[in-house]
Symmetry: C2
Subunit: 251 residues, 2 copies
Amino acid sequence: MTPARSRRPGAPTRTERGIPEATVARLPVYLRALTALSDSGIATASSEDLATAAGVNSAKLRKDLSYLGSYGTRGVGYDVEYLRYQIAREIGVTQDWAVVIVGIGNLGHALANYSGFGTRGFRIVALLDADPQLVGERIGDMVVRDFAELEEIVAADRVSIGVITTPAGPAQEVCDRLVAAGVTSILNFAPVVLSVPDGVDIRKVDLSIELQILAYHEQRKSGEAALPQVPELPAINGLPELPSVGGGVGA
Amino acid sequence: MTPARSRRPGAPTRTERGIPEATVARLPVYLRALTALSDSGIATASSEDLATAAGVNSAKLRKDLSYLGSYGTRGVGYDVEYLRYQIAREIGVTQDWAVVIVGIGNLGHALANYSGFGTRGFRIVALLDADPQLVGERIGDMVVRDFAELEEIVAADRVSIGVITTPAGPAQEVCDRLVAAGVTSILNFAPVVLSVPDGVDIRKVDLSIELQILAYHEQRKSGEAALPQVPELPAINGLPELPSVGGGVGA
DNA sequence: CCGATTTTGTTCTCACGTTCACAAGCTCCT
DNA sequence: AGGAGCTTGTGAACGTGAGAACAAAATCGG
């Protein structure tokens, strides 16, 4: 009956180029889970299996995958290799993206040594720092180059992703230079809010923020049972000694 | 109709000890912004000023702060020092939390050198690794100790937060040991989904996932204008060479 | 003392994300 | 061939978060 296979105009219309941001953030997790299953020699997996491996619930996983298309088989599950390829293609890691890392301090060093960031799909084409003492240093099979060469490198290698691992101070200036050079995606490890023009994506990784979120919940746990001494209003004016909390730069 | 001004049972009910998770995640950002303002010698700031410094919109900031209480003055703004203290207290960083770092590879090294993680409120009490070659190494003013000493250290120093910077392989086992020893909050840098019992909080920082999210948006940008060669179905069975994508461990 | 001005705290509405529940569709067994 | 048994894909209900808009409260100038 009703062979109306036609899409209703109001319907979400799959593959209409619009995957929810929350789903995009989970696709890499699914990709990793699929890779693990594949490495274990598993050829087919149900949404339940995948969800367990990815640490989410199966309904959410199915809905997420449904945004990409209908890549499963009812009654059977998903072909691991096939789904893996489809997700990789959707994310864009079937091709290699050129990446530069700016700021070769402790963290920059660590990232540079991370073999390919722990993931294929990305190629570190340069390690940059403005400190003349660092320029020329070898890290793995790369050499630290002068930050002044940025524009040239970005143009030559079609770099679209920049990673900022400088201290907070120079981060905004570095960011501006990256954007001016043509970089359109930035991963920021510096503890500052960077401002970028429209069209440039920015993501932030901040250790101290993560720790503080944990501390909040931790306080709730221990406080629930043991800490009734919460001073609601220690003193409106004339504060008790403020224990110097907050955003130091580190490094 | 129904002028029931009475609190509906389902209503949010302010100050009922329940700050939305999204707000909790922003409080550390506000804290950092306030610290910056304080360091600049600014004594009072409006929600607009603060919002700009924190990179959010002012309505959201005011709503977030309203969950903590009424710490502002209408017509004036917020007292920077006072608000800073209140947020620090709410987060729980007016006290110091003992932290252990497990896995002293590249990233563990980097974190250990981060002076206090770039934030007061946390005290690294031990660097642990199971590799005998690393044990005894000095990093800053600390010495790497054997992972076997974990339980003893956690008990002695009341450690409640553990940071995992091991490779993916041993991460779950390390996690289990941490939990068994009494750690109730974990910050995980290993590219795996860890499972923990109820009551234990876990947060994940994953470089390759962040990069992949950037890659997705990057592909959209360049693809919009230049890449029409999207193979919808390369081959149902018999895939084209799969370019080995996904969750490598990375040293 | 009063009104103009400023800025907070809160309410309302809308959009987004999650979860439930079930029809559609596939395979396998009899 | 036909029905039983799974598992996907999705519509609908629910909950959370974001933003606009405004009333309440404080300061300041006259």
